[in-house]
Symmetry: C2
Subunit: 545 residues, 2 copies
């Protein structure tokens, strides 16, 4: 690997998260890197698994090709965060709960060359290859924690009816070995501003957009995560946060940078989470307020001796839950960000003087979105002329951001990129106030997004699905508070004159179009929707109803 | 500051340590940033002091000009680490213990435009302006911890006989205010690969060389220091390490990045160090093994309750001192680096299984130089053909390094740069072995190794064996010419106060620890060893004796 003389200057090393696994595998070869049920991978085995996957991928793509994953938090998805860029590819990790149409749209939009699917989700996707022209292979991952692949493989190359290749067959192709000898893998890149991944938004303004992350941005955000989460070599990180969300807020890379231990979780269930906390000595986890709520309200919940840090985002954690967790000895850190800024961008940095506050007063402080992370530029709250709003905690403006943790842009969407980047800043669409201490507090979402169980639900997308029913004339969706999920969608529907349909019928039809978690819980039939003079639905009025 | 639309892309923010003070002043405005005797500066005051100094400097230089400091660890030198780059200058921090000739040489070599001198050292420098053509001003800093300036200032502008300007007069020049309003300071830079500082080597191979640090390298090394030192907002950092040495191994910037508290020390005295540890709750300090020895052997030494981490480099700490410190509850982290790599480059990363070792066995492990820091590329040990030596712990090669923590080059010395960078790596001149676990262990400086009868003798190994004798406080070994063997080792030994031992006794004990051919032929008892300001033993002086 080091045999040849480098052509770069000795002080020129492009920043890439690949370095983190290369280093930790050198420094902590026998240390547990991944603990998943009965599976244990040391850091050397983690690196070797990434190299094995990378060789198989590299043999089938050209540099820059997109490699997609539809999987929950399984080790293979974590390994892919290194294997795909190591192979020269760009990782696209999708939410496996998306509908087939949504997944197909994204695969076509990014022009995915390869698709890896967890066996639980192959039945939903069906013959995806027929629907995505660019795909040259679909690889099925049989996870023992879920169960073996639904149908046995057949044929010498392991091909099956739908043309899916079992993962092991994919990895075992004979050409890989000779290729590895002729062209060893290099844990290095040429251009730190090249894309490492594309993370699709939930499509707040219609179709999902592909957010391009660079090696440099991912590297720097990872070091920020390491600092703010206090990741150390003896940290144990529980994967309650989906890796398909902003690459797990870059902790897929940050935990590895620290040489800490990853504990992937296929599903977030109270008993499983508490078992991991108790048996594996979990020190850190991240997740939406729903995750906080699950942990606080579990039957298994009990006070902890070893410190546990929960970093939460998506919506401010409720003071009640913060107090519950504090009583268990759990520290809650509140962060704020978006897909476009690699996950968290601000952190509600704890101030020593907050120790003097009552628990309730402290919870109010902790629920604020806070200040820029160490690797980020200062967050601003601006008026429509891009001037800073006063630091009065009252005047509402839009949060705009710039710096290394702003995306390269939207993949193949120059117009949307230009619109998001107007005025030299990334426009979050989030409305907030700036407090006198420089802490940001979000007041509303300009785009009316609903956050349910940590998942973004675009009201526009749900409305479009509802309106596609022949009996529906018009629809408006708003979020309503929900004790467990944070928010759930509620639909106001105007029926087409002369048509009739029950709420059940409409929702059943909607479920064919969008993911189940996006389907409204409540339906109200109305004769008219409140609108502004320019025709915009007044959601404020609906929410107040 | 944010009023204008940035011309850069929203995702383009050049890396600079300036950001760390800008952020910490925003996030922790009233938190103690600097504690120095009776002086207390909050983070807002630290930033304001940097801006005040920057405005005064900017009015007197053109961008890229060198601004030199001859001072011990006083707050002004720390402030200058932000003020000088903020003013567009390049910081040159000199060892104030250099002779006048050495200082004048460096000032001329870097073409210093401004010189700041602590009042203790103005008498030594005399009329330095006459000796350095490029200098347009000499500013004298009167530190209350040392005493007021030797002579009173005179004249309205505060000019004095030697043309020195008192610091306060320099900062107060009237044009500064209007300049600040017309051109506000920008905590930002255009090019992250531009120089931020020049650190002069101690000139072991002739004249000192000026090592160029970039904003990018300093930023990344700082984040590495934050991680490996576990700097947190509540850390308290004692300045036992000179700031003029590699900008304090970049901890001038790293401690600020974490929002932690700096405690500068004008001089390292056992009573002062222990008072700071006890009264201010010091959590971290760095220094040469001499500092470890001073702390371990102080009359005030006592076991600690609050964790204290000492990071040491310059020479491997002796197992004896490591054991002494561990008994006090102090953790010793051993790092290795050079001026050319921003200070530390490798760290002896602690392995969990070392817990099972005896204290003596563990000390042997901790004394190794270790592995690359998180932000650095892997360190290599190579033979003369740039091939990696076997990982056998025996074969000696040269340590070569590359990556973001390698200097830009030597200032105005293309030949020396090319020589140091041959083969695409920075050549350290340090001879080491690579252990099977990938840990580097230095056997000697290329010029310090003793070759006796064709066998390499590591002077470090012999010194460690000598120091393990209970009567020996300190030891240095050099090679002396021998008609038969070529060279033979000669030891200089400092006895522990109140202890006594003959040369024969000490050598007999040494023979139980190392091979007979490595045992010194000659022993000289001395009361002190000649050391550089950074704690390195000046073997050149001993060899010449």
């Amino acid at each position: 690997m080091h045999a040849e003389t480098p052509t770069r200057s000795p002080n020129d090393a492009p920043l890439t998260p690949l370095r983190f696994l290369a280093r930790s595998a050198e420094v902590f070869p026998s240390k547990p890197a991944i603990i998943y049920g009965e599976r244990r991978l040391s850091y050397a085995e983690f690196r070797d698994a990434a190299e094995r996957m990378a060789l198989a991928i590299r043999a089938r793509i050209t540099p820059g090709d997109r490699v997609a994953f539809v999987a929950p938090n399984i080790p293979e998805l974590l390994i892919a965060h290194y294997a795909v860029p190591l192979a020269g590819g760009v990782l696209v990790a999708l939410n496996p709960r998306l509908s087939r149409d949504e997944t197909v749209y994204i695969l076509n939009h990014c022009g995915a060359r390869l698709l890896f699917v967890d066996a639980e989700f192959t039945p939903v996707l069906g013959d995806v290859r027929a629907a995505v022209d660019t795909l040259t292979g679909v690889i099925e991952i049989a996870d023992p924690e879920f169960g073996p692949a639904a149908s046995p493989s057949s044929g010498p190359a392991g091909e099956r009816d739908l043309g899916h290749t079992p993962l092991e067959a994919f990895l075992a192709f004979g050409d890989v070995v000779s290729d590895a000898m002729a062209h060893p893998l290099v844990w290095d890149i040429d251009d730190e501003r090249a894309p490492i991944s594309i993370n699709y938004t939930s499509g707040t303004t219609g179709k999902p957009k592909g957010v391009l992350y660079s090696h440099r941005g991912a590297y720097l955000n990872s070091l920020g995560e390491v600092f703010h989460n206090s990741f150390r070599p003896d940290s144990v990180y529980l994967w309650t946060l989906p890796m398909f969300h902003c690459n797990g807020w870059c902790t897929t890379w940050a935990v590895t940078a620290a040489g800490a231990t990853h504990v992937p979780l296929r599903a977030v269930r109270p008993a499983t989470v508490w078992a991991a906390i108790d048996d594996l000595g979990v020190t850190n986890l991240c997740g939406a307020p729903t995750v906080c709520s699950i942990i606080a309200n579990a039957d298994e919940a009990h006070p902890l001796v070893k410190p546990l840090n929960i970093t939460t985002a998506g919506a401010p954690p409720s003071p009640t839950v913060i107090e519950q967790l504090e009583r268990l000895g759990i520290t809650v850190v509140h962060v704020y960000g978006l897909t476009e800024v690699y996950g968290p961008y601000t952190i509600c940095e704890y101030q020593p003087e907050w120790d003097l506050l009552t628990s309730a007063e402290r919870a109010v402080k902790i629920a604020r979105q806070g200040v820029a992370m160490v690797q980020a530029e200062s967050a601003r709250v601006v008026d429509s002329a891009m001037g800073d709003v006063p630091r009065d905690g009252i005047t509402i403006g839009e949060i705009v951001l710039r710096g290394n943790n702003v995306m390269l842009g939207y993949f193949n969407d120059a117009d949307a990129t230009a619109e998001a980047f107007r005025g030299g800043y990334f426009h979050t669409g989030d409305l907030a106030v700036m407090h006198p201490d420089g802490y940001i507090e979000i007041k509303d979402r300009a785009k009316d997004i609903i956050i349910s169980g940590g998942e973004n639900i675009s009201t526009i997308e749900v409305e479009n699905a509802l309106v596609s029913h022949p009996a529906v004339l018009d629809a408006a969706v708003v979020g309503v508070p929900h004790p467990h999920w944070g928010e759930r969608p509620k639909a106001y529907i105007v029926l087409r004159p002369g048509h009739d349909a029950s709420a059940e019928e409409i929702l059943a039809a909607t479920k064919l179009l969008i993911a189940g978690f996006k389907v409204p819980d409540y339906v109200i039939f109305v004769t008219d929707l409140p609108r502004t003079a320019t025709g915009k639905i007044m959601k404020v009025t609906l929410r107040a109803a």
